[in-house]
Amino acid sequence: MTSQTVALPDPRQALVNRLAGGRRQRVSAPRLGAGILAVVIVASLTVRVCGIVTPGAVDLTHTLEPPSIHHLFGTDDLGRDVFGRTIYAATLDLWLGVSTTVGAMALGLVIGALVGYRGGVLDSCVMRLMDIILAFPFIVFVMAFITIYGPGLTGIYIGFIITGIPVFARLARAAMLGVREQEFILAAETLGFSRGRIIWRHALPHLLSATVVYALANIVLNIIYVAALSYLGLGVQPPTPEWGATIAEGQQYLLTAWWISTLPGLFFVVVCIAIYLAGEGLADPLSRRTLGQ
Protein backbone atom coordinates (compact mmCIF):
# COMPACT_ATOMS: atom_id res chain seq x y z
CA MET A 1 0.00 0.00 0.00
CA THR A 2 1.59 3.19 -1.09
CA SER A 3 0.38 6.70 -0.66
CA GLN A 4 1.59 9.89 -2.18
CA THR A 5 3.34 12.41 -0.06
CA VAL A 6 1.72 15.67 -0.88
CA ALA A 7 3.78 18.73 -0.35
CA LEU A 8 1.72 21.42 1.28
CA PRO A 9 1.90 24.57 -0.83
CA ASP A 10 3.55 27.59 0.71
CA PRO A 11 0.72 30.14 0.84
CA ARG A 12 3.08 32.99 0.23
CA GLN A 13 4.49 31.38 -2.83
CA ALA A 14 0.98 30.73 -4.06
CA LEU A 15 0.17 34.39 -3.78
CA VAL A 16 3.32 35.33 -5.58
CA ASN A 17 2.51 32.89 -8.32
CA ARG A 18 -0.92 34.38 -8.72
CA LEU A 19 0.50 37.87 -8.84
CA ALA A 20 2.97 36.75 -11.45
CA GLY A 21 0.07 36.18 -13.77
CA GLY A 22 -1.00 32.76 -12.56
CA ARG A 23 1.43 31.18 -14.93
CA ARG A 24 3.23 28.03 -13.92
CA GLN A 25 6.59 29.71 -14.08
CA ARG A 26 8.45 29.70 -10.83
CA VAL A 27 8.84 33.20 -9.56
CA SER A 28 10.24 32.73 -6.13
CA ALA A 29 9.22 35.17 -3.44
CA PRO A 30 12.72 36.42 -2.76
CA ARG A 31 13.31 37.04 -6.44
CA LEU A 32 10.13 39.03 -6.71
CA GLY A 33 11.20 41.15 -3.78
CA ALA A 34 14.64 41.64 -5.16
CA GLY A 35 13.17 42.49 -8.53
CA ILE A 36 10.91 45.17 -7.15
CA LEU A 37 13.74 46.67 -5.16
CA ALA A 38 16.05 46.66 -8.13
CA VAL A 39 13.52 48.45 -10.29
CA VAL A 40 12.81 51.04 -7.63
CA ILE A 41 16.47 51.74 -6.93
CA VAL A 42 17.40 52.02 -10.58
CA ALA A 43 14.47 54.30 -11.25
CA SER A 44 15.34 56.46 -8.30
CA LEU A 45 18.97 56.82 -9.24
CA THR A 46 18.03 57.61 -12.82
CA VAL A 47 15.60 60.25 -11.71
CA ARG A 48 18.21 61.84 -9.49
CA VAL A 49 21.15 61.67 -11.78
CA CYS A 50 19.34 62.71 -14.94
CA GLY A 51 17.62 65.53 -13.18
CA ILE A 52 14.17 64.43 -14.22
CA VAL A 53 12.91 65.49 -10.87
CA THR A 54 14.32 68.41 -8.99
CA PRO A 55 13.35 68.87 -5.37
CA GLY A 56 12.82 72.56 -5.61
CA ALA A 57 10.81 72.81 -8.79
CA VAL A 58 7.26 73.96 -8.35
CA ASP A 59 4.57 74.30 -10.92
CA LEU A 60 1.75 76.37 -9.59
CA THR A 61 -0.36 75.96 -12.66
CA HIS A 62 -0.98 72.31 -12.08
CA THR A 63 -1.67 72.00 -8.39
CA LEU A 64 -3.72 69.22 -6.86
CA GLU A 65 -4.35 67.33 -10.04
CA PRO A 66 -5.64 63.79 -9.69
CA PRO A 67 -3.64 60.84 -11.03
CA SER A 68 -3.37 60.75 -14.78
CA ILE A 69 -1.10 59.56 -17.51
CA HIS A 70 1.24 62.48 -17.06
CA HIS A 71 1.23 62.32 -13.32
CA LEU A 72 0.80 58.77 -12.11
CA PHE A 73 0.25 59.78 -8.54
CA GLY A 74 -1.22 63.19 -9.28
CA THR A 75 0.30 66.47 -8.16
CA ASP A 76 0.49 68.08 -4.77
CA ASP A 77 -0.37 71.53 -3.55
CA LEU A 78 2.74 73.00 -5.11
CA GLY A 79 2.12 71.33 -8.42
CA ARG A 80 4.95 68.83 -8.02
CA ASP A 81 4.55 65.38 -9.51
CA VAL A 82 3.93 63.14 -6.55
CA PHE A 83 5.11 60.01 -8.30
CA GLY A 84 8.36 61.65 -9.29
CA ARG A 85 8.96 62.77 -5.74
CA THR A 86 8.14 59.36 -4.41
CA ILE A 87 10.63 57.72 -6.69
CA TYR A 88 13.20 60.37 -5.90
CA ALA A 89 12.78 59.75 -2.21
CA ALA A 90 13.29 56.01 -2.54
CA THR A 91 17.06 56.03 -2.43
CA LEU A 92 17.11 58.41 0.49
CA ASP A 93 14.77 56.34 2.60
CA LEU A 94 16.36 53.06 1.65
CA TRP A 95 19.79 54.44 2.34
CA LEU A 96 18.76 55.74 5.74
CA GLY A 97 17.17 52.45 6.70
CA VAL A 98 20.07 50.33 5.59
CA SER A 99 22.90 52.52 6.84
CA THR A 100 21.47 53.01 10.30
CA THR A 101 20.81 49.30 10.61
CA VAL A 102 24.24 48.32 9.40
CA GLY A 103 25.85 50.79 11.78
CA ALA A 104 23.84 49.57 14.74
CA MET A 105 24.41 45.96 13.77
CA ALA A 106 28.16 46.31 13.43
CA LEU A 107 28.57 48.00 16.77
CA GLY A 108 25.99 45.82 18.49
CA LEU A 109 27.59 42.62 17.24
CA VAL A 110 31.03 43.63 18.44
CA ILE A 111 29.78 44.67 21.84
CA GLY A 112 27.59 41.60 22.29
CA ALA A 113 30.28 39.23 21.10
CA LEU A 114 32.94 40.63 23.39
CA VAL A 115 30.89 40.72 26.55
CA GLY A 116 29.30 37.37 25.78
CA TYR A 117 32.70 35.77 25.41
CA ARG A 118 34.27 37.22 28.50
CA GLY A 119 31.34 37.37 30.82
CA GLY A 120 31.88 38.58 34.31
CA VAL A 121 31.52 42.09 35.63
CA LEU A 122 32.09 43.70 32.25
CA ASP A 123 29.20 41.69 30.86
CA SER A 124 26.84 42.85 33.59
CA CYS A 125 27.82 46.51 33.32
CA VAL A 126 27.57 46.71 29.57
CA MET A 127 24.25 44.91 29.43
CA ARG A 128 22.82 47.22 32.06
CA LEU A 129 23.92 50.13 29.90
CA MET A 130 22.08 48.55 27.01
CA ASP A 131 19.03 48.18 29.20
CA ILE A 132 19.18 51.88 30.04
CA ILE A 133 19.20 52.80 26.38
CA LEU A 134 16.35 50.45 25.69
CA ALA A 135 14.34 51.90 28.55
CA PHE A 136 14.04 55.23 26.78
CA PRO A 137 11.13 55.64 24.41
CA PHE A 138 12.65 55.64 21.01
CA ILE A 139 11.25 58.89 19.72
CA VAL A 140 12.25 60.76 22.87
CA PHE A 141 15.79 59.51 22.54
CA VAL A 142 16.10 60.45 18.91
CA MET A 143 14.52 63.80 19.51
CA ALA A 144 17.16 64.46 22.12
CA PHE A 145 19.85 63.99 19.50
CA ILE A 146 17.99 66.09 17.00
CA THR A 147 17.81 68.82 19.55
CA ILE A 148 21.55 68.66 19.95
CA TYR A 149 22.42 68.44 16.31
CA GLY A 150 19.48 70.27 14.86
CA PRO A 151 16.96 68.91 12.42
CA GLY A 152 18.43 66.96 9.57
CA LEU A 153 20.21 63.77 8.97
CA THR A 154 23.03 63.87 11.53
CA GLY A 155 20.69 63.59 14.46
CA ILE A 156 18.88 60.77 12.73
CA TYR A 157 22.05 58.78 12.10
CA ILE A 158 23.38 59.06 15.60
CA GLY A 159 20.04 58.58 17.30
CA PHE A 160 19.01 55.58 15.26
CA ILE A 161 22.33 53.85 15.57
CA ILE A 162 22.59 54.29 19.28
CA THR A 163 19.04 53.12 19.88
CA GLY A 164 19.57 50.21 17.52
CA ILE A 165 22.68 48.87 19.23
CA PRO A 166 21.10 47.32 22.36
CA VAL A 167 18.92 44.79 20.60
CA PHE A 168 21.76 43.65 18.35
CA ALA A 169 24.04 43.46 21.34
CA ARG A 170 21.54 41.31 23.17
CA LEU A 171 21.02 39.00 20.24
CA ALA A 172 24.73 38.69 19.65
CA ARG A 173 25.44 38.06 23.29
CA ALA A 174 22.77 35.38 23.53
CA ALA A 175 24.12 33.69 20.43
CA MET A 176 27.64 33.95 21.80
CA LEU A 177 26.63 32.36 25.08
CA GLY A 178 25.21 29.50 23.10
CA VAL A 179 28.25 29.12 20.88
CA ARG A 180 30.79 29.67 23.66
CA GLU A 181 30.70 26.14 24.97
CA GLN A 182 30.59 24.43 21.62
CA GLU A 183 33.45 22.08 21.13
CA PHE A 184 34.88 23.82 18.14
CA ILE A 185 35.31 26.95 20.19
CA LEU A 186 37.00 24.94 22.93
CA ALA A 187 39.15 23.37 20.26
CA ALA A 188 40.15 26.80 19.03
CA GLU A 189 41.23 27.65 22.54
CA THR A 190 43.30 24.55 23.00
CA LEU A 191 44.86 25.09 19.62
CA GLY A 192 46.22 28.28 21.12
CA PHE A 193 44.31 30.85 19.10
CA SER A 194 44.00 34.34 20.50
CA ARG A 195 40.73 35.49 21.93
CA GLY A 196 40.26 38.01 19.18
CA ARG A 197 40.78 35.40 16.54
CA ILE A 198 38.31 33.07 18.16
CA ILE A 199 35.63 35.74 18.39
CA TRP A 200 36.20 37.13 14.95
CA ARG A 201 36.82 34.05 12.84
CA HIS A 202 35.07 31.33 14.70
CA ALA A 203 32.19 32.75 16.63
CA LEU A 204 31.09 35.67 14.49
CA PRO A 205 29.59 33.76 11.55
CA HIS A 206 27.26 32.09 13.99
CA LEU A 207 26.27 35.37 15.51
CA LEU A 208 25.48 36.78 12.10
CA SER A 209 22.84 34.24 11.37
CA ALA A 210 21.15 35.01 14.66
CA THR A 211 21.03 38.70 13.95
CA VAL A 212 20.43 38.96 10.23
CA VAL A 213 16.72 38.27 10.45
CA TYR A 214 16.28 40.97 13.00
CA ALA A 215 18.40 43.25 10.88
CA LEU A 216 15.93 42.94 8.04
CA ALA A 217 13.08 43.87 10.30
CA ASN A 218 15.17 46.71 11.59
CA ILE A 219 15.72 48.15 8.13
CA VAL A 220 12.03 48.33 7.51
CA LEU A 221 11.40 49.67 10.99
CA ASN A 222 13.98 52.37 10.59
CA ILE A 223 12.49 53.52 7.32
CA ILE A 224 9.15 53.76 9.02
CA TYR A 225 10.67 55.73 11.89
CA VAL A 226 12.40 58.10 9.49
CA ALA A 227 9.11 58.64 7.78
CA ALA A 228 7.47 59.18 11.15
CA LEU A 229 10.05 61.74 12.15
CA SER A 230 9.74 63.56 8.86
CA TYR A 231 6.00 63.47 9.31
CA LEU A 232 6.55 65.21 12.62
CA GLY A 233 8.80 67.67 10.89
CA LEU A 234 11.89 66.53 12.71
CA GLY A 235 13.62 64.51 10.09
CA VAL A 236 14.31 65.39 6.57
CA GLN A 237 13.59 69.00 5.87
CA PRO A 238 11.55 70.34 2.92
CA PRO A 239 11.90 70.61 0.04
CA THR A 240 13.84 67.29 0.06
CA PRO A 241 11.29 64.65 -0.86
CA GLU A 242 10.85 61.86 1.64
CA TRP A 243 8.04 59.43 2.03
CA GLY A 244 6.98 60.43 5.48
CA ALA A 245 7.19 64.10 4.65
CA THR A 246 5.10 63.57 1.54
CA ILE A 247 2.47 61.77 3.56
CA ALA A 248 2.47 64.60 6.07
CA GLU A 249 2.12 67.21 3.39
CA GLY A 250 -0.90 65.47 1.98
CA GLN A 251 -2.60 65.09 5.30
CA GLN A 252 -4.66 68.25 5.08
CA TYR A 253 -5.93 67.22 1.65
CA LEU A 254 -6.91 63.72 2.65
CA LEU A 255 -10.55 64.17 1.74
CA THR A 256 -10.02 66.17 -1.42
CA ALA A 257 -6.69 65.29 -2.96
CA TRP A 258 -6.31 61.87 -1.31
CA TRP A 259 -3.63 60.73 -3.70
CA ILE A 260 -0.92 62.84 -2.15
CA SER A 261 -0.79 60.79 1.04
CA THR A 262 -2.31 57.51 0.03
CA LEU A 263 -0.43 56.55 -3.10
CA PRO A 264 3.06 57.20 -1.79
CA GLY A 265 1.99 55.39 1.36
CA LEU A 266 0.98 52.32 -0.61
CA PHE A 267 4.19 52.49 -2.58
CA PHE A 268 6.09 52.61 0.71
CA VAL A 269 4.28 49.49 1.93
CA VAL A 270 5.07 47.60 -1.25
CA VAL A 271 8.74 48.47 -1.00
CA CYS A 272 8.89 47.35 2.63
CA ILE A 273 7.36 44.03 1.71
CA ALA A 274 9.86 43.72 -1.09
CA ILE A 275 12.69 44.27 1.38
CA TYR A 276 11.37 41.47 3.55
CA LEU A 277 10.99 39.06 0.70
CA ALA A 278 14.38 39.80 -0.71
CA GLY A 279 15.98 39.65 2.70
CA GLU A 280 14.54 36.27 3.52
CA GLY A 281 15.96 34.92 0.35
CA LEU A 282 19.29 36.27 1.46
CA ALA A 283 19.18 35.08 5.05
CA ASP A 284 18.78 31.35 4.46
CA PRO A 285 21.54 30.86 1.90
CA LEU A 286 23.77 33.12 3.94
CA SER A 287 23.42 31.06 7.04
CA ARG A 288 23.73 27.88 5.09
CA ARG A 289 26.90 29.04 3.46
CA THR A 290 28.57 30.30 6.57
CA LEU A 291 27.33 27.60 8.88
CA GLY A 292 27.03 24.63 6.61
CA GLN A 293 23.60 23.76 7.90
Partner: protein, 336 residues
Protein backbone atom coordinates in the same frame (compact mmCIF):
# COMPACT_ATOMS: atom_id res chain seq x y z
CA UNK B 1 16.86 -19.10 27.00
CA UNK B 2 14.25 -21.56 25.88
CA UNK B 3 11.46 -20.22 23.77
CA UNK B 4 8.75 -22.67 22.94
CA UNK B 5 8.79 -22.58 19.19
CA UNK B 6 5.20 -22.87 18.29
CA UNK B 7 4.34 -20.48 15.57
CA UNK B 8 5.31 -16.87 15.39
CA UNK B 9 2.73 -14.45 16.69
CA UNK B 10 4.04 -11.58 14.64
CA UNK B 11 5.25 -11.75 11.08
CA UNK B 12 6.71 -8.91 9.11
CA UNK B 13 7.21 -9.46 5.41
CA UNK B 14 9.16 -7.32 3.01
CA UNK B 15 8.97 -4.10 4.93
CA UNK B 16 10.21 -1.12 2.99
CA UNK B 17 10.35 2.42 4.32
CA UNK B 18 11.14 5.32 2.04
CA UNK B 19 12.28 8.85 2.71
CA UNK B 20 12.12 11.57 0.09
CA UNK B 21 15.33 13.51 -0.25
CA UNK B 22 16.61 16.23 -2.48
CA UNK B 23 18.27 13.65 -4.68
CA UNK B 24 15.44 11.20 -4.86
CA UNK B 25 13.74 8.55 -2.82
CA UNK B 26 15.85 6.69 -0.31
CA UNK B 27 14.83 3.29 1.01
CA UNK B 28 15.93 3.32 4.62
CA UNK B 29 14.54 -0.16 5.06
CA UNK B 30 14.46 -2.51 2.11
CA UNK B 31 12.53 -5.74 2.07
CA UNK B 32 12.98 -6.58 5.72
CA UNK B 33 11.25 -9.69 6.97
CA UNK B 34 11.16 -11.20 10.41
CA UNK B 35 9.12 -13.47 12.63
CA UNK B 36 8.67 -13.16 16.35
CA UNK B 37 7.90 -16.10 18.59
CA UNK B 38 6.61 -15.74 22.12
CA UNK B 39 9.44 -15.11 24.53
CA UNK B 40 12.04 -14.69 21.82
CA UNK B 41 14.81 -12.13 22.00
CA UNK B 42 15.83 -10.92 18.58
CA UNK B 43 18.73 -8.57 18.10
CA UNK B 44 18.98 -6.09 15.23
CA UNK B 45 22.55 -5.07 14.71
CA UNK B 46 23.84 -2.44 12.38
CA UNK B 47 25.61 0.86 12.12
CA UNK B 48 24.27 4.24 11.18
CA UNK B 49 22.11 4.11 8.11
CA UNK B 50 21.51 0.41 8.38
CA UNK B 51 17.78 0.81 8.85
CA UNK B 52 17.52 -0.87 12.23
CA UNK B 53 15.85 2.01 14.01
CA UNK B 54 13.52 2.70 11.12
CA UNK B 55 12.36 -0.92 11.15
CA UNK B 56 11.50 -0.66 14.79
CA UNK B 57 9.66 2.56 14.30
CA UNK B 58 7.70 1.13 11.45
CA UNK B 59 6.58 -1.69 13.71
CA UNK B 60 5.43 0.84 16.22
CA UNK B 61 3.84 3.21 13.76
CA UNK B 62 6.34 5.92 14.51
CA UNK B 63 8.11 6.43 11.23
CA UNK B 64 8.98 10.11 11.25
CA UNK B 65 7.51 12.21 8.49
CA UNK B 66 8.28 12.62 5.62
CA UNK B 67 9.26 8.98 5.63
CA UNK B 68 6.62 6.36 5.20
CA UNK B 69 6.06 2.67 4.80
CA UNK B 70 5.94 1.91 1.12
CA UNK B 71 5.81 -1.83 1.13
CA UNK B 72 5.40 -4.92 3.22
CA UNK B 73 2.77 -6.61 5.29
CA UNK B 74 2.36 -7.11 8.98
CA UNK B 75 0.47 -10.02 10.47
CA UNK B 76 -0.35 -10.54 14.13
CA UNK B 77 -1.71 -13.93 15.22
CA UNK B 78 -2.16 -14.80 11.61
CA UNK B 79 -4.34 -11.82 10.84
CA UNK B 80 -3.18 -9.11 8.52
CA UNK B 81 -2.79 -5.69 10.07
CA UNK B 82 -3.03 -2.66 7.84
CA UNK B 83 -0.47 0.09 8.19
CA UNK B 84 -1.82 3.22 9.71
CA UNK B 85 -4.52 3.32 12.27
CA UNK B 86 -5.01 -0.41 12.67
CA UNK B 87 -1.32 -0.91 13.22
CA UNK B 88 -1.06 1.97 15.64
CA UNK B 89 -3.82 0.36 17.66
CA UNK B 90 -1.36 -2.41 18.41
CA UNK B 91 0.55 -0.01 20.59
CA UNK B 92 0.15 -0.68 24.24
CA UNK B 93 -1.39 -4.08 24.41
CA UNK B 94 0.65 -5.84 21.80
CA UNK B 95 3.68 -3.73 21.11
CA UNK B 96 5.54 -1.39 23.41
CA UNK B 97 8.75 0.54 22.93
CA UNK B 98 11.65 1.94 24.93
CA UNK B 99 13.98 4.47 23.45
CA UNK B 100 17.60 5.39 23.77
CA UNK B 101 17.24 8.74 25.41
CA UNK B 102 14.98 8.60 28.43
CA UNK B 103 15.39 12.31 28.95
CA UNK B 104 13.76 13.02 25.64
CA UNK B 105 11.10 10.37 26.03
CA UNK B 106 9.79 11.27 29.43
CA UNK B 107 7.75 14.41 29.79
CA UNK B 108 9.83 16.77 31.88
CA UNK B 109 6.90 18.67 33.35
CA UNK B 110 5.00 15.79 34.83
CA UNK B 111 6.05 13.54 37.64
CA UNK B 112 7.01 9.97 37.00
CA UNK B 113 4.00 8.69 38.85
CA UNK B 114 1.65 10.86 36.85
CA UNK B 115 3.04 9.53 33.60
CA UNK B 116 2.74 5.95 34.75
CA UNK B 117 -0.78 6.44 35.97
CA UNK B 118 -1.71 8.08 32.68
CA UNK B 119 -0.58 5.08 30.70
CA UNK B 120 -2.32 2.68 33.02
CA UNK B 121 -5.61 4.51 33.01
CA UNK B 122 -5.58 5.04 29.26
CA UNK B 123 -4.92 1.47 28.34
CA UNK B 124 -6.42 -0.55 31.15
CA UNK B 125 -9.09 1.76 32.50
CA UNK B 126 -8.06 1.38 36.11
CA UNK B 127 -9.43 3.67 38.74
CA UNK B 128 -7.20 6.34 40.17
CA UNK B 129 -6.44 4.41 43.30
CA UNK B 130 -5.83 1.16 41.51
CA UNK B 131 -3.58 2.90 39.00
CA UNK B 132 -1.54 4.36 41.81
CA UNK B 133 -1.05 1.00 43.43
CA UNK B 134 -0.11 -0.54 40.14
CA UNK B 135 2.34 2.27 39.43
CA UNK B 136 4.11 1.64 42.70
CA UNK B 137 4.24 -2.05 41.92
CA UNK B 138 5.72 -1.31 38.50
CA UNK B 139 8.41 0.96 39.85
CA UNK B 140 9.26 -1.65 42.38
CA UNK B 141 9.37 -4.29 39.70
CA UNK B 142 11.92 -2.35 37.68
CA UNK B 143 14.17 -2.02 40.66
CA UNK B 144 13.54 1.51 41.82
CA UNK B 145 13.90 1.64 45.56
CA UNK B 146 11.42 3.56 47.71
CA UNK B 147 8.94 3.39 44.88
CA UNK B 148 6.21 5.14 46.81
CA UNK B 149 8.33 8.22 47.31
CA UNK B 150 9.61 8.19 43.75
CA UNK B 151 6.14 8.54 42.33
CA UNK B 152 6.32 12.25 42.89
CA UNK B 153 9.78 12.65 41.39
CA UNK B 154 10.32 14.46 38.14
CA UNK B 155 12.50 12.92 35.44
CA UNK B 156 15.29 15.42 35.88
CA UNK B 157 15.61 14.46 39.51
CA UNK B 158 16.55 10.92 38.63
CA UNK B 159 19.80 9.53 37.32
CA UNK B 160 20.13 8.19 33.81
CA UNK B 161 19.80 4.61 34.91
CA UNK B 162 16.69 5.34 36.92
CA UNK B 163 15.09 7.18 34.05
CA UNK B 164 15.67 4.19 31.87
CA UNK B 165 14.02 2.01 34.47
CA UNK B 166 11.04 4.33 34.48
CA UNK B 167 10.84 4.01 30.72
CA UNK B 168 10.82 0.26 31.12
CA UNK B 169 8.07 0.54 33.68
CA UNK B 170 6.03 2.60 31.25
CA UNK B 171 6.64 0.07 28.54
CA UNK B 172 5.65 -2.99 30.51
CA UNK B 173 2.73 -1.32 32.24
CA UNK B 174 0.45 -2.50 29.48
CA UNK B 175 1.83 -6.03 29.52
CA UNK B 176 2.82 -6.04 25.88
CA UNK B 177 3.56 -9.22 24.01
CA UNK B 178 6.46 -7.60 22.20
CA UNK B 179 8.92 -5.06 23.53
CA UNK B 180 10.82 -2.95 21.03
CA UNK B 181 14.04 -1.58 22.47
CA UNK B 182 15.92 1.01 20.46
CA UNK B 183 19.41 1.18 21.93
CA UNK B 184 18.07 1.59 25.47
CA UNK B 185 21.43 1.26 27.13
CA UNK B 186 23.75 2.97 24.70
CA UNK B 187 23.95 6.21 26.62
CA UNK B 188 24.40 4.56 30.01
CA UNK B 189 27.49 3.69 31.94
CA UNK B 190 28.57 0.14 31.48
CA UNK B 191 27.80 -0.88 35.05
CA UNK B 192 24.34 0.65 34.80
CA UNK B 193 23.88 -0.93 31.40
CA UNK B 194 24.53 -4.32 32.86
CA UNK B 195 21.86 -3.88 35.49
CA UNK B 196 19.32 -2.66 32.95
CA UNK B 197 20.05 -5.56 30.64
CA UNK B 198 19.66 -7.97 33.54
CA UNK B 199 16.37 -6.34 34.37
CA UNK B 200 15.14 -6.65 30.83
CA UNK B 201 15.99 -10.32 30.76
CA UNK B 202 14.23 -10.88 34.06
CA UNK B 203 11.14 -9.10 32.84
CA UNK B 204 11.18 -11.19 29.72
CA UNK B 205 11.40 -14.40 31.70
CA UNK B 206 8.66 -13.30 34.03
CA UNK B 207 6.12 -12.05 31.53
CA UNK B 208 7.01 -14.19 28.55
CA UNK B 209 7.16 -11.16 26.31
CA UNK B 210 9.24 -11.19 23.20
CA UNK B 211 11.76 -8.53 22.43
CA UNK B 212 13.45 -6.91 19.48
CA UNK B 213 16.63 -5.24 20.65
CA UNK B 214 18.28 -2.76 18.34
CA UNK B 215 21.90 -1.91 18.97
CA UNK B 216 25.20 -1.26 17.30
CA UNK B 217 27.00 -3.21 20.01
CA UNK B 218 27.53 -6.81 18.96
CA UNK B 219 28.70 -7.75 22.44
CA UNK B 220 25.37 -6.77 24.02
CA UNK B 221 23.50 -8.87 21.50
CA UNK B 222 25.69 -11.81 22.37
CA UNK B 223 24.65 -11.50 25.97
CA UNK B 224 20.94 -11.10 25.78
CA UNK B 225 19.57 -12.23 22.45
CA UNK B 226 18.77 -15.63 21.04
CA UNK B 227 18.69 -14.67 17.40
CA UNK B 228 20.22 -11.83 15.50
CA UNK B 229 19.75 -10.00 12.22
CA UNK B 230 22.55 -7.92 10.80
CA UNK B 231 21.51 -4.93 8.72
CA UNK B 232 23.44 -2.95 6.18
CA UNK B 233 22.13 -0.17 3.97
CA UNK B 234 18.57 -1.15 4.72
CA UNK B 235 18.95 -4.82 3.88
CA UNK B 236 19.20 -7.83 6.14
CA UNK B 237 22.56 -9.23 5.18
CA UNK B 238 22.68 -12.04 7.68
CA UNK B 239 20.43 -13.69 10.19
CA UNK B 240 20.62 -16.64 12.50
CA UNK B 241 21.26 -17.75 16.02
CA UNK B 242 23.49 -15.41 17.95
CA UNK B 243 26.15 -17.96 18.66
CA UNK B 244 26.35 -18.95 15.00
CA UNK B 245 26.49 -15.48 13.59
CA UNK B 246 28.98 -14.07 16.06
CA UNK B 247 31.30 -17.05 16.19
CA UNK B 248 31.11 -18.01 12.55
CA UNK B 249 29.91 -15.05 10.57
CA UNK B 250 29.45 -15.69 6.90
CA UNK B 251 28.58 -12.42 5.25
CA UNK B 252 31.67 -10.28 4.63
CA UNK B 253 30.11 -7.34 6.45
CA UNK B 254 29.32 -9.41 9.50
CA UNK B 255 32.82 -10.83 9.46
CA UNK B 256 34.23 -7.34 9.35
CA UNK B 257 31.93 -6.09 12.05
CA UNK B 258 32.63 -8.93 14.43
CA UNK B 259 36.36 -8.61 13.94
CA UNK B 260 36.38 -4.86 14.32
CA UNK B 261 35.04 -4.96 17.84
CA UNK B 262 37.83 -4.96 20.40
CA UNK B 263 37.45 -7.71 22.99
CA UNK B 264 38.86 -7.94 26.43
CA UNK B 265 41.69 -10.40 26.79
CA UNK B 266 41.96 -10.88 23.07
CA UNK B 267 45.07 -9.12 21.94
CA UNK B 268 46.02 -8.83 18.34
CA UNK B 269 45.36 -6.25 15.69
CA UNK B 270 41.85 -5.10 15.04
CA UNK B 271 40.32 -5.68 11.68
CA UNK B 272 39.00 -2.54 10.07
CA UNK B 273 36.37 -2.31 7.38
CA UNK B 274 37.69 0.14 4.84
CA UNK B 275 35.63 2.94 3.37
CA UNK B 276 32.60 4.83 4.54
CA UNK B 277 29.10 3.90 5.62
CA UNK B 278 26.94 3.79 2.53
CA UNK B 279 25.44 6.88 0.98
CA UNK B 280 21.83 5.82 0.96
CA UNK B 281 20.94 8.21 -1.81
CA UNK B 282 23.52 6.76 -4.14
CA UNK B 283 23.70 3.04 -3.57
CA UNK B 284 25.56 1.08 -6.20
CA UNK B 285 23.71 -1.60 -8.11
CA UNK B 286 23.82 -5.05 -6.64
CA UNK B 287 25.27 -5.60 -3.20
CA UNK B 288 25.59 -2.33 -1.24
CA UNK B 289 28.61 -3.63 0.65
CA UNK B 290 30.61 -4.36 -2.48
CA UNK B 291 32.56 -1.06 -2.45
CA UNK B 292 33.99 -1.95 0.93
CA UNK B 293 34.25 -5.68 0.59
CA UNK B 294 37.71 -7.09 0.24
CA UNK B 295 36.38 -10.10 -1.60
CA UNK B 296 34.29 -8.12 -4.05
CA UNK B 297 34.15 -9.32 -7.59
CA UNK B 298 32.39 -8.04 -10.71
CA UNK B 299 29.42 -10.36 -10.16
CA UNK B 300 28.60 -8.47 -6.97
CA UNK B 301 27.09 -5.68 -9.02
CA UNK B 302 24.52 -8.09 -10.37
CA UNK B 303 23.33 -9.51 -7.09
CA UNK B 304 19.58 -9.22 -6.59
CA UNK B 305 19.60 -7.99 -3.01
CA UNK B 306 15.87 -8.06 -2.51
CA UNK B 307 15.69 -11.70 -3.40
CA UNK B 308 18.78 -12.61 -1.42
CA UNK B 309 17.66 -10.75 1.68
CA UNK B 310 14.16 -12.17 1.43
CA UNK B 311 15.05 -15.80 0.93
CA UNK B 312 18.47 -16.41 2.41
CA UNK B 313 20.02 -16.25 5.83
CA UNK B 314 23.19 -14.84 4.39
CA UNK B 315 22.73 -12.34 1.60
CA UNK B 316 26.07 -12.94 -0.05
CA UNK B 317 25.72 -15.72 -2.63
CA UNK B 318 29.46 -16.14 -2.77
CA UNK B 319 29.88 -16.52 0.95
CA UNK B 320 27.22 -19.18 1.03
CA UNK B 321 28.96 -21.27 -1.55
CA UNK B 322 32.23 -20.97 0.26
CA UNK B 323 33.77 -18.88 -2.45
CA UNK B 324 34.89 -16.36 0.14
CA UNK B 325 38.23 -17.52 1.48
CA UNK B 326 39.12 -17.64 5.12
CA UNK B 327 41.84 -15.07 4.71
CA UNK B 328 42.10 -12.65 7.64
CA UNK B 329 40.64 -9.27 7.03
CA UNK B 330 42.91 -6.42 6.19
CA UNK B 331 44.11 -4.28 9.01
CA UNK B 332 45.01 -0.65 8.66
CA UNK B 333 43.66 2.82 8.52
CA UNK B 334 42.47 3.24 5.02
CA UNK B 335 42.71 6.24 2.82
CA UNK B 336 39.28 7.70 2.25
Amino acid sequence: MSAVRVSPFLTLSDLSVAFPTATGRVLAANCISLEIYPGQALGLVGESGSGKSVTLRALCGLVPAPGQVVGGTLAVDGRNVAWGREQRALRGRTISMVFQDATASLTPVRSVGAQLREVLRETTGLSRAAARTEAIALLDRVGISSARKRLAAYPHELSGGMRQRVMLALAIATRPRLLLADEPTTSLDVTTQERILALIKDLQAETGMAMIFVTHDVAVVEDICDDVMVLYAGYVVERGKVSDVTKQPRHPYTRGLVSAVPRLYTPGPLAAIPGQPPDMAALPPGCPFAPRCQWARPECLAVNMRREAATQDCACPFARTGAVPEAPLAVEAMTE
